[in-house]
């Protein structure tokens, strides 16, 4: 771990990186503008060849949170078994991050899911469509301002009669 921390500090010395550990999770907080460079550096120089998880958290109601969304990347090295959690933050009104599809193809559906559920866009993604909800859906269900029961959603859907179908 120390070597990665040192290498990152050396390479990205001008940027605000935060290193922390909780239980066995080694975490690095990175600024959104440097996200792609850091991930590419970790992949190419430190053998983090697998992106196992990409998800987001909406911190709207989280006590003491400064930013709206956190996006989490869990990297694994199949060579030495190391695991690393990279986290960055994005904010309203236009949450946007660079797509890491060019680094790991597993980001394809994972980024689509984050877009579908949180409305965070990924620039450079080849096919950023909704994946779990229908295309005509207008809300982002996992945002904290979306209610549990989603009242009113169903009225937005067009009703098909038998004759039209």
């Amino acid at each position: 771990m120390m070597t990665i921390e040192d290498a990152l500090k050396l390479k990205f010395s001008g940027d605000e990186l935060s290193f922390s550990q909780f239980r066995d999770n080694h975490r690095i907080g990175v600024p959104a503008v440097k996200l792609f460079d850091i991930l590419a550096f970790l992949k190419n120089e430190h053998h983090f060849d697998m992106l196992v998880e990409l998800t987001a958290v909406d911190y709207l109601e989280y006590e003491g949170a400064k930013d709206r969304f956190g996006v989490v990347y869990v990297l694994v090295s199949t060579i030495n078994g190391a695991r690393l959690v990279i986290k960055t933050h994005v904010n309203d009104p236009e949450p946007l991050l660079p797509s890491v599809y060019s680094l790991w193809k597993s980001a394809d559906w994972l980024e689509r899911e984050v877009y579908d559920m949180f409305g965070i866009r990924f620039s450079g993604h080849p096919d950023l469509r909704r994946i779990l909800t229908p295309d005509e859906f207008t809300a982002y269900p996992l945002r904290k301002d979306y209610p549990l029961k989603g009242r009113g959603e169903r009225h937005n859907f067009p009703v098909l009669t038998r004759a039209e179908s």
Binding site: V57, V74, G81, V85, S106, I131
Partner: protein, 406 residues
């Protein structure tokens, strides 16, 4: 790999008019679950495949933010319903890591046995239906009868055959007794014969081999780049198994092997799954004779744990503790932290990313479902194969739509 808009334009070109489109699913006997594929065919060759998912999306992760750590176990059950107990073990593994609870040795062994039974259960169904889709009905029935025995074992422990909701924070709902241990022993004893029989039925069966060998090939580089884990990855030569790499529960004490292959095709996946069952039986054999004595649940002094029923009925401390855990407006303090914890589920890496906000509910309960990542592979695997290979590839991926869509 993925479906790209440019692909579609190319396929729509006037000189490609001979291509035709086939809709596969969402209700189709060979998908086994609810998922849809739009296949573009050139004769019988699949030129392109576009998966459409979300038909079973039911907002599990949203529910996870409104239910407490014990209640949500009834929901994670229903994700990969082929091996429900493994989801529970995985969920509580992550919760206990967040809360910093160390399980009792008895519970660790008990959960290890159950996790391995679930692995066998999952592989039984997968290899069984894989054969079924290719026309081999016998193996499916032989294996399903073994699944029935596992249902019995699980029912003896939890009272439920399928959606058991058996684990709790810091332990399990009920301890097991000697009758349960005997049931597991007799299952282990009888399993080898059935396993060998199915080996004889399928492994050297010419039709079976010709339908699977060389189909859906996945190279090691693609496998890593696409985030594939579990038996799929091991069949493509990635030696990665969380039971060995990041030992949890009792796996550190046990003697077992990682099964892997270099071939990376459907047949290799079948072989890996078959052999993994043998390794799982070995693990169960080691555990069942060495279940430590002592309490199964963590001492109720830890605020997060449901106290044992006798202490609820007979002592005021137990009653208070029970009240504190159960009532929605009470609860226990949890760390304001975030954790990613994963276990090796039968299908691959099943992880949970939990954000704790100090309350007994998860602020965010993200599931990292292996099926989701694996189904994204499908267009890559099926390209330039025959239409009849669709079911073979789909069967070897073991996609469970409830876990896929959550």
């Amino acid at each position: 790999m993925p479906f790209e808009v440019s692909d579609l334009a190319e396929l729509d070109a006037p000189d490609k008019e001979y291509l035709w489109t086939l809709n596969f699913g969402p209700q189709h006997p060979a998908t086994h679950t609810t998922l849809r594929l739009v296949l573009t065919l050139d004769g019988e060759t699949v030129v392109n495949a576009v998966p459409h998912i979300g038909y079973l999306h039911s907002g599990f992760e949203k529910l996870g933010e409104h239910l407490d750590f014990n209640q949500y176990v009834t929901i994670v059950d229903r994700m990969n319903y082929i091996s429900p107990l493994h989801n529970e073990i995985s969920w509580h593994h992550a919760v206990e890591k967040l809360l910093g609870i160390e399980l009792t040795p008895r519970c660790k062994y008990l959960r290890t046995i159950l996790a391995e039974l679930m692995r066998i259960q999952d592989h039984l169904l997968n290899t069984g239906t894989c054969a079924l889709d290719l026309g081999g009905f016998t193996a499916f029935l032989y294996f399903f009868q073994q699944r029935e025995l596992i249902y019995d074992i699980v029912e003896t422990a939890s009272g439920q055959r399928f959606h058991t909701s058996y684990t709790r924070v810091g332990g399990v709902a009920f301890d097991v007794n000697n009758a349960w241990v005997d049931k597991v022993r007799s299952f282990v004893k009888g399993f080898a014969a059935v396993h060998a029989e199915v080996h004889r039925l399928l492994t050297r069966n010419r039709i079976f081999i010709e339908r699977l060998k060389g189909i859906g090939h996945l190279s090691t580089e693609d496998c890593i780049n696409m985030g594939v884990t579990g038996p799929l990855a091991r069949a493509s030569g990635v030696l990665r198994d969380l039971r060995k790499d990041e030992p949890y529960l009792a796996y550190g004490d046990l003697d077992f092997k990682i099964v892997a292959s270099k071939d990376g095709d459907c047949y290799a996946r079948y072989l890996v799954r078959m052999q993994e069952m043998v390794e799982s039986i070995k693990i169960i054999e080691q555990c069942i004779e060495n279940i430590p004595e002592g309490p199964v649940n963590v001492d109720a002094g830890s605020k997060a744990v449901i106290p044992a029923k006798p202490s609820v009925y007979r002592s005021i401390e137990g009653l208070i503790q029970h009240f504190e855990v159960m009532m929605p407006n009470r609860g226990f303090p949890t760390p304001k932290e975030e954790i990613y914890a994963a276990t090796e589920s039968p299908n691959g890496e099943l992880g949970y990313y939990i954000v704790g906000d100090g309350s007994p509910r998860a602020y965010r309960a993200r599931t990292r479902p292996p099926s989701y990542v694996h189904f994204a592979l499908f267009p890559h695997l099926i390209k330039n194969h025959q239409l009849s290979d669709v079911v073979a590839v789909l069967g070897s991926l073991n996609v469970i739509a409830a876990e896929l869509d959550r």
